[in-house]
Amino acid sequence: MAKFIANILFIKYLKKANNYKLIAVSYLQSITMSYKTTIKAGGSEKDYWKDLWINRQLLWILSKRDISVRYKQTLLGIGWSVIRPLMTMLVMAFVFSFVAKLKGDPGIPYPLMILGGLTIWSFFSNSFSQISNSVVINSNLVSKVYFPRLLMPLSAFSVGFIDFLISLSLYIGLSFYYSYPPSVNIIFLPLFVGLTFICSLGFGLFFAVINVRFRDIGQLIPFLVQVGMYMCPIAYSSRLVEGKWFYKYYLLNPVVGIIDGFKWCLLGEKAYFDPSSLYSTIIVSIVVLFMSLMYFRKKENTFVDHI
């Protein structure tokens, strides 16, 4: 007990010293010393984030598992991560510019605009669908071993993120081919990637919970992703929508702000970007994430009974 109090005092002292790293270390020590667990209905609330932290290594390992399993027994392996976005871009560029005669933002190579939008959209949609399926896919773990269930959706980011990085490098390579290198706005890129994390986690978590009970979600997700793709400014520019009566409803879609912002980072000021769209992105993403987290926390202890 005395040790425990001493530990707390120590932590308080360190907090003053603003030495966060040491705090984390001593905090860990204090939990490894006792390992007292209370199990009761509704789970043990206060230990949750502590457990998540202790198990961070498992998060890393699960992520690594998903990545290394991804292209096992394929001929082209990671090459698929390059081929897929490239092919999609070529098809879309052909269909929309030659067949549908859509125009992008003036002064911007149309294929680049598509690839830019596609890059962040794929990251969002991959993360979203992987997260939605994460609990069901890992059902063998859920029913046999304890760990904070939130690790599953969190680890589901890994594959999409690697694909995102590859697609982004592909974009940068292609931008030099079109002599249209990324603008200085690129320094804001991490902001939009972060928003994508929050947004996809928010929506994904919610569906992940429902998916445990109703596998219909597995059927619904690809459809949602397909529809979402047309509702977001990927093949077209938001400029086409601006001024239309439904523009304000269009902006309610949190992904619109993310995609426009992302394209703005890469393509510069010529790309259409309405900063006010970020309000809805930020508010919707954070509210949804918060509510989904609560929902997930409430339901995660019953996963095993329904899975």
């Binding site: 006792s34 390992y35 007292k36 667990t37 209370t38 199990i39 009761k40 209905a41 509704g42 789970g43 290594q57 498992l58 390992i61 699960l62 598992r65 290394s68 399993v69 096992k72 027994q73 890992n138 063998n140 773990l141 859920v142 029913s143 046999k144 071993v145 304890y146 760990f147 009970r213 109703f214 596998r215 219909d216 202890n301 019953t302 095993v304 009974d305 329904h306």
Partner: protein
């Protein structure tokens, strides 16, 4: 020191009688709700019927450090539910458990193995899932590989492993966990005899090093050898706890009273035909050591009474003893003899130290004139014989149908003299 204390834990499951499928679909829920809204007395109401099922009810216990607890009970008695609660996989509906110490639970061998990953990768994956840190895994990596005996296949995906290798690797990782409390569920049901021996040896080490062990198994020999205390669960309740020998015996006496006696008082209701009616079948064990169950040492008497309805019939009995798997172990016949109308009684003695442990059943035939079967009763009696061993440190299933005590000796017939 108390390491686990459970107060009033209960676990309720709601059984959906709606459908037999595991996951109902959203459409069904929506359509059923609508149907119910519109016609209240429709059949759908029956569909929606839900039933409560208490997998565990008011379970209280305390476990001290170093206790080795065996958990026995029939299938569905709540043993696995208890382990799931203790390993935090599922929450109790009511009650509370306090655990002091690091828990590792092994409810399955090779949890989370990914078939596409190699043995090496899976060791790290599975180790992390079971709660081992990377340095910990690295430290015992060689020992794990050695224990599992998979050196050659470390870089082969585990989907190409034989099922034996897979299980060995899984257990090897778990065996190198270093928790204060180890929970094991029926893992020994898999693997060959040699591997089972290895596992039990490892568990013995664990239990002797002062760690706390909870062990569910149907292998009572192993429980008796490893555990000092036992819990007996029946229908979700902890009905008895105490010394392992005592608990195992209570459990067995409840289990093995399978069908030791059957009798019919009224001749018209008795099974049979116009020639023969059954009066009674009895199996009378001569229990040893005041135990209330039959084990391999127990001699048994069998008695069969019939009403013979034919005058001057030449009758004899023919008895088949079958193993649980349906193999006939022996067939015996009595002398054929002429009987008057009335009751005839057949008797047979099966000595102790003759049948091996297992489940058996007996069918009996009444034969007329040594050729015509006039009555045949399958499954006339059935019984279990439990294992019993002395001075043996091997707990795997004893092979064979019979286990006779024959005079088998080993002695020194020549010695090399050391000068």
């Amino acid at each position: 020191m108390k390491v686990i204390s459970a107060e009033n834990i209960s676990k309720r499951y709601i059984i959906d009688h709606q459908r037999s499928q595991k996951s109902s679909s959203l459409r069904d829920v929506v359509s059923n709700t609508f149907e119910q809204l519109f016609n209240k007395n429709s059949k759908v109401a029956d569909f929606k019927e839900k039933e409560e099922f208490w997998a565990l009810q008011d379970v209280n216990f305390e476990i001290n450090q170093g206790d080795r607890i065996g958990i026995v009970g029939h299938n569905g008695a709540g043993k696995s539910t208890l382990l799931k609660i203790l390993s935090r996989i599922t929450d109790p509906t009511t009650g509370q458990v306090t655990i002091n110490g690091r828990v590792a639970s092994l409810l399955e061998v090779g949890t989370g193995f990914h078939p596409e990953l190699t043995g090496r990768e899976n060791i790290f994956l599975n180790g992390a899932i079971l709660g081992m840190g990377k340095p910990e895994i690295k430290k015992s990596f060689d020992a794990i590989v050695d224990f599992a005996g998979v050196e050659k296949f470390l870089d082969t995906p585990v989907k190409r492993y034989s099922s034996g290798m897979y299980v060995r690797l899984g257990f090897a990782i778990a065996a190198h966990l270093d928790p204060e409390i180890l929970i094991i569920d029926e893992v020994l049901a898999v693997g060959d005899a040699e591997f089972q021996k290895k596992c039990l040896g490892k568990m013995r080490d664990v239990s002797e090093s002062g760690r706390t062990l909870l062990f569910v198994s149907h292998n009572l020999t192993a429980i008796q050898a490893l555990c000092n205390k036992s819990f007996y669960f029946e229908k979700g309740r902890l009905i008895d706890q105490g010394e392992t020998t005592h608990i195992v015996s209570t459990y067995l006496s409840r289990v093995s009273q399978k069908q030791l006696e059957r009798h019919w008082d009224e001749i018209d209701q008795a099974p049979g035909n116009q020639d023969i009616r059954v009066k009674s079948f009895r199996l009378l064990p001569e229990y040893v050591d005041n135990l209330l169950h039959i084990d391999v040492r127990t001699p048994m008497k069998l008695q069969f009474e019939f009403w013979n309805l034919i005058e001057d019939a030449n009758l004899n009995l023919s008895l088949h003893l079958y193993s649980y798997t349906g193999e006939c172990i022996f067939n015996l016949g009595t002398q054929s003899q002429a009987f008057a109308k009335g009751i005839v009684t057949g008797a047979l003695e099966i000595p102790g130290h003759f049948l091996n442990d297992g489940s058996y059943n007996i069918s009996i035939m009444v034969v007329k004139d040594t050729s015509e079967v006039i009555y045949n009763m399958e499954d006339a009696l059935s019984f279990d014989i439990e294992d019993y061993r002395e001075n043996v440190s091997w707990y795997g299933k004893w092979p064979g149908y019979i286990r006779p005590q024959l005079n088998f000796t080993l002695k020194q017939t020549e010695s090399i003299l050391n000068d």
